[in-house]
């Protein structure tokens, strides 16, 4: 039986502080469920569970800071149905076998504590999940909502785009009887907008069927009246996190999740934001120092004609809805991922004196944050995505990174990283490889440049693609092959 451990959310992370449990003992959990929120030096990260089972014990309390790898919770066999009260179970209970005391010890052998527990033939079903309940809600919150007779969908509407936490349900209950919200009929989008902009839905005349409030009605209310005390106005003057409201139509996000929006509470702790900013600076400093100390870099670059790519994008974007528009940066990301498949010597990690190629291209994407610092979330298996999926993924990641709600799974395991500084107006990027990766791809701005074709000088949109790579793992010729491949792909964007 597995343990749920403090994950490593980046090569530079040594420890993390448990901020909040989203489950309690006795809860059934499934692979991919968000079970805890962990504070790294950089940001608060939602951490998913990697196993199916039942939480048999929480080994670390909220507020505790523990090293990476520390067991945070024991995930065991399904407990007898008698367990209903959270917090009462501290051990794997009535199960036979030598259950050791659940101490938060770092040196515990993985799985040993629960190894003798009987393995259930069938995993327990999750506790009565409302099919319409918002995604990512922990079992604990579902149970609390059930106990209080609260409709989670309504809570989610009041907590726009955010994963619903226990505190949200409690706040929702404290705010007034559920009847109050059910009186105002409004679309989910209208509710999100209203919550994000501080508009009281009760005061908005609805124009939809039966007087229900639609998004347009909220916009009209916003346009007609001076906006109320909106969330952004109370935000810190220089937020390290950049919160934003949901896209009006979350259709570009491939997951079924609502777009990320911080609660009002997320705006308040500017002290936390500042501590993240300085923690992030420290973490970056440590990582790049290690990179420059250990990695003998080499650099190559090439100018690429972007005529075909920009024309293709323009034609494509002209036909499609604004929400499906693709930016050149997404196209460059996809080409880099595909080129990494063709040149596998650059896709992987340098571990114990040898290069270990990665099975898929898990593309790290450098995202700069307002107020300074960077996050490098990952697009898993990016080479097998379509351009639309890459665009959706990168939009989702940017939104999450800037609102400080990245998932743990999005921060780990990049096999190669891309840094695009084109929007900052630079011509070319000569980056620092993220250890233990062995390559960093850079893109500058796509701009019109003098270009010779068949001995004639013309003007064409062009971009400088560059590569910083670990010379221990590859040589310049490999880097050159990689950049040539990107060039070839960009000449036939319609084949991507």
């Amino acid at each position: 039986m597995p343990e749920f451990r403090m994950p490593s959310l980046g090569a530079d992370m040594e420890s993390g502080r448990l901020l909040e449990w989203l489950v309690s003992p006795g809860d059934a959990v499934h692979r991919g469920d968000v079970v805890a929120v962990v504070d790294t030096d950089k940001a608060a990260i939602e951490v998913e569970c990697f196993d199916d089972g039942v939480v048999s014990a929480l080994l670390v309390q909220p507020g505790e800071k523990v090293p990476v790898g520390t067991a945070l919770a024991a995930i065991g066999a399904p407990a007898p149905p008698a367990i209903t009260e959270p917090g009462t179970i501290t051990e794997p209970g009535a199960s036979p076998g030598p259950a050791a005391a659940p101490l938060p010890s770092v040196d515990a052998v993985p799985g040993q504590r629960l190894a003798t527990l009987p393995v259930p033939a069938v995993m327990p079903a999750p506790p009565a999940v409302t099919p319409l309940a918002p995604q990512g809600v922990s079992p604990l919150v579902r149970r609390l909502a059930r106990q209080r007779g609260v409709d989670l969908t309504a809570v989610a509407a009041a907590v726009p785009g955010q994963v619903v936490h226990r505190a949200d349900v409690e706040r929702f209950c404290a705010a007034g009887p559920p009847a109050r919200t059910s009186r105002v009929r409004a679309s989910p989008l209208a509710r999100r907008l209203a919550a994000a902009s501080g508009v009281d839905l009760a005061g908005v005349p609805g124009t939809a069927e039966a007087g229900a409030v639609r998004a347009e009605d909220v916009y009209r209310a916003l346009a007609g009246a001076r906006p109320g005390p909106d969330a952004s106005a109370t935000g810190p003057a220089l937020p390290a996190k950049r919160p934003s409201v949901p896209t009006a139509e979350p259709s570009t996000v491939p997951t079924a999740e609502p777009p990320t929006v911080p609660t009002a509470a997320a705006h308040a702790p500017s002290a936390a934001a500042q501590s993240h900013a300085s923690g992030m600076r420290r973490a970056i400093a440590e990582l790049v120092s290690r990179a420059n100390r250990e990695i003998p870099h080499y650099y190559v670059s090439t100018s690429i004609d972007m005529t075909a790519a920009t024309q293709w994008l323009r034609a494509r974007n002209r036909e499609l809805d604004v929400s499906e528009r693709i930016v050149p940066a997404a196209l460059l990301l996809l080409c880099a991922a595909r080129a990494a498949v063709a040149v596998p010597e650059l896709n992987g990690h340098w571990v114990d004196g040898a290069f270990r190629p990665a099975a898929t291209v898990d593309l790290g994407t450098v995202i700069s944050l307002r107020g300074g610092g960077i996050m490098v979330p990952v697009i898993p298996d990016a080479a097998n995505l379509t351009i639309d999926h890459v665009m959706a993924a990168v939009r989702d990641l940017v939104e999450r990174a800037r609102s400080g709600r990245l998932r743990a799974s999005a921060l780990t395991g990049a096999s190669i990283t891309v840094s695009n500084l084109g929007d900052q107006g630079v011509d070319a990027v000569f980056g620092v490889v993220y250890p233990p990766q062995v390559a960093l791809v850079g893109f500058g701005a796509v701009r019109d440049r003098p270009w010779t074709v068949d001995g004639l000088l013309g003007v064409r949109p062009a971009v400088v693609a560059s590569l910083a790579a670990d010379h221990r793992a590859s040589d310049g010729a490999v880097g050159a092959r990689f950049l040539r491949h990107i060039d070839r792909l960009l000449q036939k964007p319609e084949e991507l």
């Binding site: 994000a196 902009s197 916009y219 916003l222 346009a223 007609g224 001076r226 906006p227 909106d230 969330a231 952004s232 935000g235 810190p236 003057a237 220089l238 937020p239 950049r242 919160p243 934003s244 409201v245 896209t247 009006a248 139509e249 705006h267 323009r314 974007n317 002209r318 604004v322 929400s323 528009r325 930016v327 050149p328 940066a329 700069s368 307002r370 990168v394 939009r395 940017v398 084109g422 929007d423 900052q424």
Partner: protein, 81 residues
């Protein structure tokens, strides 16, 4: 829509992407992308939201007309449904 209405919508939308954006503190001919550090994804987001709110499609060819706050409001007033 009046210029005032559009201005409110524009500022509100910009603030959703850049929470500390304050249009009253910058000249009307300031470069939006540079001043508010909008990257291409931010800009697409801004355009998408504005497009929905004024009920008119904004094409990539129109991006040049959204370079400054004054330009943007002028363009949006002219194209609002």
């Amino acid at each position: 829509m009046t210029t005032e209405e559009v201005h409110v919508i524009f500022e509100q939308t910009l603030k959703e992407i850049v929470p500390d954006a304050d249009l009253s503190s910058v000249p009307g001919d300031t470069d939006l992308r540079e001043t508010f550090e909008l990257d291409s994804l931010d800009f697409v987001e801004l355009v998408e939201r504005l497009s929905k709110r004024i009920g008119a499609r904004i094409d990539e060819e129109d991006y040049d007309q959204l370079r400054t706050p004054d330009d943007a409001v002028r363009f949006l007033v002219a194209h609002a449904a």
